[in-house]
């Protein structure tokens, strides 16, 4: 098993099935990339760089977006 920590929750993937990029992770989670910003191990990744950002076993990914607020 391989693992990614996504928004604070560990998600397991069968060996070899770990999403290889941020884009692939978002596709698996069915989240539209356009309005999301990611942080991989504390490094900010803009949406245009999702495809080029490789993911590895054990990394921590934060996916954030805007919500209503004052």
């Amino acid at each position: 098993m391989e693992v990614l920590k996504i928004n604070g929750v560990e998600k397991q993937f069968p060996a070899g099935r770990l999403p290889s990029t941020v884009t692939e992770l978002l596709e698996q989670l069915d989240i539209k990339a356009a309005t999301v910003v990611a942080e991989v191990d504390g490094r900010i990744i803009e949406s245009k760089k999702f495809t080029g950002t490789k993911l590895h076993n054990g990394q921590s990914v934060e996916l954030v977006r805007f919500v209503g607020g004052g």
Partner: protein, 261 residues
Amino acid sequence: MDKLVIADKEFNSRLLVGTGKFASCEIMAEALEKSGTEIVTVALRRVDIENKNDDMLRSIDIKKYLLLPNTSGARDAEEAVRLSKLARAATGISWVKLEVTPDPYYLLPDPVETLKAAEILVKDGFTVLPYINADPVLAKKLEDVGTATVMPLASPIGSKQGLRAREALEIIIEQANVPVVVDAGLGLPSHAADAMEIGADAVLVNTAIATAAEPNQMAVAFKLAVEAGRKAYKAGAAAAGKRASASSPLTGFLRDTQEEK
């Protein structure tokens, strides 16, 4: 024209509107439209993996409104800076409403951490609009480190108590060389007009509009109140006094002078 100028941008509307607490995206979109606002605040949160339809940005026309992300949820300067950078990556612009509120009960902003974060963000090229307690000394210090505005609260956020901090707000307005945006605690259009009458450059309203029975009508009411308050301020209000002062002439009454003794 009497424009609001923040950093390098000009605005016709002096009403900033928050996007929290609306019952639906559609209700929010309509209220924003009716309010005439040009600046809307948003918060940054983790994507709800279980509910992918939580995307509210689809109902905000970002060509029409300047998105002002806040750093709500930040408990110290470090968290606020992190949120600001994430927001910048999302919007592509560097405006941020800086708020650091470690106290969960009154949600009062932390002055020390806010000043610390403001310094870091200004150096990093951000246009910083800090939410602060109505503290004239802090407002000056923030201005000195280069914030684009100061945003003192009128009373605790969401409390709808109006200008509890009136005296301190008046001092901040008197001393400020950057726009003063009165933020938080404005529950009624009259509160917003009140803030504008004492010389605030703008106000920010969220809860009072979002939680009204008819948010779009309340948005109109706030729009008019802000305009009225601004006009009154520009017109120069006459000073209040303790005793009565007759509006009609005190001469030429229909009685003989002898009777007036």
